[in-house]
Amino acid sequence: MRYAGKKMITMLLTLFAVTLFVFLAFHLISGDPATSMLGTDATPERIAALRQELGLNDPVLVQYGRWAKGFLTGDMGTSYSYRLPVGEMVLDKLPVTVTLTIMAFILIVIISVPMGIYTARHAGGWVDRAIYMVNQVIMAFPPFFAGILITLVFGRIFRLFTPGGYVSYEKSFAGFVSYLFFPALAIALPKAAMAVKLLRSSLISESKLDYVRTAYSRGNATRDVLYKHVLKNALIPLITFLGMALADMIAGSLIIEQVFGIPGLGRILLSAISNRDYPVVMAVIVCIAVLVLLVNMAVDIIYGLVDPRITVE
């Protein structure tokens, strides 16, 4: 409980800092919601009037205070550009990003765990060597380029999905999930490559420890040793990595969303930034930050489950 309380306080502090930074940043960037809303037909008088109406002439801290007060009372405001309630807009897009992230995560796990174990057990073999090189190359691909190539290969040549044919989850969940498969793959591949590498090296270093030798000398079969003792201990760094990867994916699938035309949080964030639609930007950032925090908490709990010696302070 104390743990949860402490985490809550740090989260609130972080959120406070991030939202304040974002607000200040918007103050520094040229252009504001009023010019964005009025476009090329605007006269200086009309811009001034709209700025007044939106309260953009107030000192930045007053504006921040107004936003924070609204947020704390559950009112995230209205999008300047879409004129829709921000809460509704963000909640509508949240499942997209979450599903994409979960799918990518599942892919990472199913790719990296078997491969990691295999390469560790056959370390030095040619398969290990080949997988190592392939992984290195995958990690060297710029993400957007990988996305384009995946679209080209699986969408254009093999016709396994319709490029740009995103289906809303409200319309057909199966269609939604099947469209997200390849974007998820594009996100997962580089991370899976890193995970394989990590799992392999932690398995190898773990298997050199004394207790493993002891287990061998007691006549345990290799397989048993690997699963029972080594894997369990080697999982700790992997879990840390997966936690970080998950957090990273929530905040950073922006480019893949853009490449595959997926209307997730990243796209909303990007367009809101360029429209100076800061109620939306703030809401998305808070949303991402909370998700990341939840992931971090989950990682801590899983540590405890895998290794009871690690207790949450």
């Binding site: 252009g31 476009g39 709209l50 550009s81 796990v109 199913i110 078997p114 595959f260 035309g261």
Partner: protein
């Protein structure tokens, strides 16, 4: 227990993923429904859906299908009666009388009344928010309801072009959420929108005129325009209105490529407040340095229409092709002019370009190279559209910028007014008494020949005074799946979807 979990779980994952992947294959495409079309658009409609408040060109071209004014533009550039069935011009263009069409309905089923018309016009003429929504409406003296089907508009000063502004959308007095729930009288009505995903409309069955050819229309936001060819070939979109020359060349014969022009004046606009551009010799030198042909070659495979002043060919009678030859590339002459102006050792300036327009960025890159030949060192600075609006357009804090300026209405003045010294949107800070006088003559003359003469005089001044470095009217390539036909180009920035129909 644990061991089993570890081994079993991946298996489940593999199976689900396989199932997902397979459903992806068999899911293929939906069967061709009788009349529906998906149209790709490069950016979302990220603003109010109230036609009077909407400002984005991308929004206006779609809302064109939802709303109509008393009159509406046709593809040949003429104005045809819409909500009004007839109109009459009297007192030399000072009084306009409109007869409302019988039986025109809004999308919510209610009939259009004279009150709705007055409300719509009044809303755009309202000055309480720092100025009228339609600037030209400051010329309206009164707008009165004569009887249930007749409205009379009186202007302060006669203006024979004023009808072109009566395309202002007629909206119902009673609409609580015009920002998110657009109700108009157009051939299509709003169904739904999902931010960054799509915008859906369907045919309005009670439309007064010829009903639209296709029932369901989805505008899908294509965030990555680089994969448009794949999107079109894969079938996720059936049409895209502005593919590049390269993309047009890559599309298979399942698509028809229609070629038109974007109807805008692409130029390197110069800030006349900037010290270097106050000298006409410098401006002329820049005009002599460039070769529009080469720019077109580089940017759009040689397609495009050269222009020499702030007017494009779609305007027919006002367009002056001869002005294209005011400056033909002449490096020596350009250098000499620079020398005379005291820039023998070269000069440098920054070209600010909005980062969301690839064709303007590409043009600017070619310009930079062409300027190098006369010893001018130009730097490109990309900024976001919104920063462009505030820094360049509103605050006029820039040296040069490459953009395309379009006409907001079908009048010559919509392109020429901005260069008069007092115009609010004179973002190049141009000031020339001769120009102001010629424009004043043009706008106030009721005789068409005389008006044309003075507008041409304005264009000539713009060209000869090298106000801006004029380049071209950009080519527009529309990719349309051959399942559909009937696309028509307009001299304005609109997409008329109602004219599309299935090809058979």
């Amino acid at each position: 227990m644990k061991r089993k979990g570890l081994k079993g779980l991946p298996m489940v994952f593999v199976l689900t993923t396989l199932a997902i992947a397979l459903s992806g294959c068999s899911g293929d495409k939906k069967e061709e429904t009788s009349s529906q079309i998906t149209i790709g658009i490069p950016q979302d409609i990220e603003e109010s859906l109230d036609p009077h408040k909407a400002v984005g060109a991308g929004t206006e071209e779609i809302l064109f299908n939802l709303f109509e004014g008393l009159v509406k533009p046709e593809s040949d550039g003429s104005l045809i009666p819409a909500v009004a069935s007839a109109y009459e011009e009297s007192e030399g263009g000072r009084v306009y009388t409109f007869t409302l069409r019988e039986g025109v309905k809004f999308h919510d089923g209610s009939a259009v009344t004279a009150e709705d018309v007055k409300y719509s016009i009044d809303k755009c003429a309202d000055t309480s928010n720092g100025g009228p929504l339609v600037e030209a409406y400051s010329n309206i003296e009164s707008f009165e309801i004569k009887d249930a089907s007749t409205v009379v508009m009186t202007l302060k000063e006669a203006d024979t072009e004023f009808l072109a502004y009566m395309t202002t959308a007629i909206i119902p007095t009673a609409n609580e959420n015009p920002d998110t729930n657009p109700i108009g009288t157009g051939p299509y009505k709003f169904v739904s929108r999902s931010p960054q995903e799509n915008f859906v409309v369907e045919r309005f069955e009670d439309y007064w005129g010829e009903p639209a050819g296709i029932r369901d229309v989805t505008f899908r936001i294509c965030s990555n325009t680089d994969s448009l060819v794949m999107d079109l070939e894969g079938g996720s979109i059936d049409m895209f209105a502005r593919v590049t020359a390269t993309q047009a060349a890559e599309l298979s014969d399942r698509f028809e490529i229609l070629e038109g022009t974007m109807n805008l004046v692409q130029a390197m606009y110069l800030n006349h407040e900037a010290e270097i551009f106050q000298d006409v010799r410098v401006r002329k030198a820049l005009c002599y340095a460039i070769d529009p042909e080469e720019i077109m070659m580089m940017v759009s495979d040689g397609k495009g229409t050269e222009i020499g002043s702030s007017m494009f060919p779609a305007f027919g009678k006002y367009y002056m092709e001869e002005l294209n030859d005011t400056y033909n590339q002449d490096i020596e002459k350009a250098k000499r002019l620079l020398e005379e102006a005291g820039y023998a050792n070269g000069l440098s300036f920054t070209i600010t370009v909005p980062s969301n327009y690839q064709q303007h960025i590409d043009t600017a890159q070619v310009l930079v190279e062409q300027f190098k030949a006369i010893g001018v060192d130009a730097k490109i600075q990309l900024i976001e559209w919104d920063s462009w609006l505030s820094d360049v357009y509103q605050n006029r804090d820039y040296e040069a910028t490459v953009v395309g300026v379009d006409a907001s209405s079908l009048t010559g003045s919509s392109l020429l007014r901005r260069f008069t010294s007092t115009a609010g949107n004179n973002f190049v800070n141009y000031s020339n008494a001769d120009y102001d006088a010629a424009f004043e003559e043009g706008i106030s003359s009721t005789d068409d020949a005389r008006k044309t003469k003075y507008y041409k005089e304005c264009e000539r001044i713009l060209a000869e005074d090298a106000v801006n470095v004029y380049i071209q009217d950009l080519p527009e390539f529309v990719a349309l799946n051959k399942k559909y036909t009937g696309y028509e180009f307009y001299p304005l920035y609109v997409q008329d979807i109602a004219k599309l129909r299935l090809a058979q």
